[in-house]
């Protein structure tokens, strides 16, 4: 098991070599299947990896990620838990301290709020508080998203967790990142918030044929461009790609950066891009106030103030609790048009 980033990178290089030796190929899978592969590979390899969560057994998980796993691995390793998020995460913290590798599924990020004490006051603190002598390396998988689910079931809280030292927070947008990050999270020694998105489970993408892991660091340039940099993550990055395509047709060249990892934040990659484009738009699905976009904007201007030719644009959701009515929901969540508008405002 890798314990440092360097080791992870080494493993990744080895794995990549292995993969290319094996077939050199890539294949197309869904985001959901990428997650399923990561989980089964890690469970097959390490008997200490176990799954805990509500309705992950017979029901197959609320987003069907764990379907069939209980039949395959048994109730010992795929545990249907009571509806008790605080307890589930706490149990996983303890089990992780004592040598297991729990992957917890919290149905949605909304319910992670019930577990926030265990995540923030316990999981994130244990390695530091005890002078680095032991760890609590659990992985919490959870999902963001919406779809007429109302005020308490449509929220986006990755920024809350990215605020906390001691946690690693990832929010992958592609099947390739989803699989590689999840495997790295399971193999690593830190608590990881692994945030999925309910609206992208069926998205397809290429992943390497063989086994591979991706270290939990670094943004990625998804599309190169010269006029403006658009930064986002998770479903927002997909939205940004769509907007960039449309802008391209109007003769505006955008560089799209997928942050992928939200703690630690890779500001370098953004700053490098801004040095080229001189313009930045940040797209997030959350409320903008006190959000990740605000942090990225502040961090970028610290290192790239002279490169900026326009105020940094920000796109976020309208700051109200999510109403059920579909016409209002559509207005509240940012779409491609808002991204295009924000880009044009910087030009």
């Amino acid at each position: 098991m890798a314990s440092t980033l360097a080791e992870l990178e080494e493993m990744q290089r080895e794995a990549a070599k292995g993969a290319s030796r094996a077939s050199g190929g890539m294949r197309e899978v869904t985001y959901r299947d990428a997650l399923r592969e990561a989980i089964t590979e890690e469970m097959d390899k390490n008997p200490n990896v176990l799954l805990l969560g509500e309705d992950i057994g017979a029901y197959g998980g609320s987003y069907v990620v764990t379907r069939g796993f209980q039949e395959k691995y048994g109730r010992k390793r795929v545990i249907d838990t009571p509806i008790a998020e605080l307890g589930i995460v706490g149990v996983a913290v303890g089990a992780a301290m004592a040598g297991l590798k729990p992957i917890v599924e919290l149905m949605t990020i909304n319910f992670s709020l019930l577990a926030i004490d265990q995540i923030v006051n316990h999981a994130a603190k244990i390695h530091y508080m005890f002078g680095g002598q032991f760890t609590a390396p659990l992985v919490i998988r959870t999902a963001s998203g919406w779809g007429q689910l109302g005020a308490t079931h449509s929220q986006t809280f990755e920024g809350w967790y990215a605020h906390v030292p001691g946690l690693r927070v990832v929010m992958p947008s592609t099947p390739r990142d989803a699989k590689g990050f999840l495997k790295a999270a399971v193999q690593g020694n830190d608590p990881v918030m692994f945030i999925e998105h309910s609206l992208i489970y069926r998205n397809r993408g290429l992943i390497p044929d063989g086994e591979y892991i991706l270290p939990l660091e670094g943004a990625e340039v998804r599309k190169e461009g010269s006029d403006v940099t658009i930064v986002s993550w998770s479903r927002g990055a997909i939205l940004a790609m769509g907007a960039a395509d449309e802008l391209e047709r109007e003769g505006i060249s955008s560089e799209v950066i997928d942050m992928r990892v939200l703690r630690p934040l890779d500001i370098d990659t953004v700053a490098k891009s801004v040095a080229k484009t001189n313009r930045l738009v940040i797209v997030e699905e959350s409320w903008r106030t006190m959000g990740l976009g605000a942090e990225i904007a502040a961090a970028v201007q610290e290192v790239a103030f002279d490169d900026l030719d326009a105020p940094i644009g920000r796109v976020g959701s309208i700051e109200v609790p999510m109403p059920y009515a579909r016409n209002l929901e559509r207005i509240i969540i940012p779409g491609k048009d808002e991204v295009i508008q924000a880009v044009k405002a910087t030009l």
């Binding site: 509500e54 309705d55 057994g57 017979a58 029901y59 197959g60 609320s62 249907d80 838990t81 009571p82 509806i83 008790a84 605080l86 307890g87 909304n110 319910f111 019930l114 779809g147 007429q148 689910l149 109302g150 005020a151 308490t152 079931h153 409320w287 903008r288 106030t289 796109v315 976020g316 309208i318 700051e319 109200v320 609790p321 109403p323 059920y324 009515a325 579909r326 016409n327 209002l328 207005i331 509240i332 940012p334 779409g335 048009d337 808002e338 508008q341 924000a342 405002a345």
Partner: protein, 377 residues
């Protein structure tokens, strides 16, 4: 200190399948529900039937509207559990209070919300019970102190305890009834709420609908005990298990609970044994329970059983029920028409209700000021 003892007033739904018919056949039987059968007026008895049938058909029509795409998001149907809400709400007076979980259509209708605004809420319309803001999981009926359905499992239990605190504090002759599922009894908030209600002797009825499943997980995998009522005993709380498929037994038990609370004895725990005939929500693949089990429970339908009971007791004949059924169908037809014809909320109202007090526009619109974006239409 062993006042608390969970009593079982009727066979659990699981083993009581043949019980009701035996009792109905014999008028001398003095099992649960029979007192009510004699004590209630004919109009009241028929009204209980009407409410159950209204809920059943409302849910069936909702499922149909969901299939047409008129309703979105989650839709948690109450089909099979109607007797619980109807029997329990019958025991409440207009001064009493109610909070429920998200499976709340039956409660809204039983406590008197007009099916029109309830259906309009499911459609997300401005004329809905929360003006299209809350949706199916957050119905409300303010006139009857129905403080709404709540969608975070067990989140509303401490709130019910708090309403109980206010009622006791203001020396009101009223109770707060709190509805939740068996799954909620495993959450920390459940235990915190029960403990506080017990130490302060608050007038709160904790009514657990034990339908044997929390979403797709059977209770034996997630609850240390099969009887949810025994959990109340840890807090020295009066507790009772009742057949939730028998509307009159349900009513009698709820009445006992209301009387107990109003006499100042503190909280009361009711466990209603019931079963949902449909999936957890419309998205449920129902891979976790077999069809035979569902069929077995369906064969003891709380509505047809009650109808048979009333016919056997000579309260009404088939023609009376057919008339009621026709009226309900018309009422629902009108409700759907009303929902369909109603407008969606006006986008210009998007910032309404975020705060109770008006605040400065610039602060309210933080993140979407007029010159940058404004509401997106």
């Amino acid at each position: 200190m062993s006042r608390a003892k969970a009593t079982t007033t009727n066979g659990a739904a699981a083993n009581g399948a043949s019980r009701r018919r035996g009792r109905s056949a014999s008028k001398t039987d003095n099992g649960p529900g029979v007192d009510a059968l004699h004590a209630l007026e004919k109009s009241e008895l028929l009204s209980l039937y009407r409410q159950m049938y209204l809920i059943r058909r409302f849910e069936e029509r909702s499922a149909e509207q969901y299939a047409y795409g008129k309703i979105g998001g989650f839709l948690h149907l109450y089909i099979g559990e109607e007797a619980v809400a109807v029997g329990a709400i019958k025991a409440l007076s207009p001064a009493d209070h109610l909070v429920t979980h998200y499976r709340d259509h039956g409660y809204a209708l039983a406590i008197g919300a007009d099916p029109g605004p309830v259906m309009a809420e499911l459609f997300g319309k401005e004329t809905g019970t929360t003006k299209g803001r809350g949706g199916s999981m957050h119905l409300t009926h303010v006139e009857r102190h129905f403080w709404g359905g709540y969608a975070i499992v067990a989140g509303h239990l401490p709130i019910a305890t708090g309403i109980g605190l206010a009622l006791q504090y203001q020396e009101q002759d009223a109770v707060c009834m709190c509805i939740f599922g068996d799954g909620a009894t495993n959450a920390g908030a459940f235990h915190e709420a029960l403990n506080m209600a017990a130490i302060w002797k608050l007038p709160v009825i904790f009514l657990c609908e034990n339908n044997l499943y929390a979403m797709g997980t059977a209770h034996q995998y997630i609850s240390a005990v099969p009887s949810m009522a025994t959990k109340a005993l840890a807090y020295d709380m009066k507790a009772e298990t009742v057949d939730g498929q028998d509307v009159l037994a349900m009513y009698e038990a709820a009445r006992r609970a209301v009387e107990w609370c109003k006499a100042g004895n503190g909280p009361y725990f009711l466990e209603a044994m019931t079963y949902r005939f449909r999936g957890h929500s419309m998205a449920d693949p129902e891979t976790y329970r077999d069809k035979d089990e569902v069929e077995q429970y369906r064969s003891r339908d709380p509505i047809t059983a009650y109808q048979e009971q009333l016919i056997e007791a000579g309260v009404a004949d088939k023609a009376v029920f057919e008339q009621i059924d026709r009226e309900v169908e018309e009422q629902l037809e009108a409700a759907i028409f009303f929902a369909d014809a109603s407008p969606f909320p006006d986008p210009s109202t998007i910032y309404d209700y975020v705060y109770a007090e008006p605040i400065w526009e610039t602060i309210a619109r933080n993140g979407a000021s007029e010159d940058s974006e404004g509401p997106r239409g």
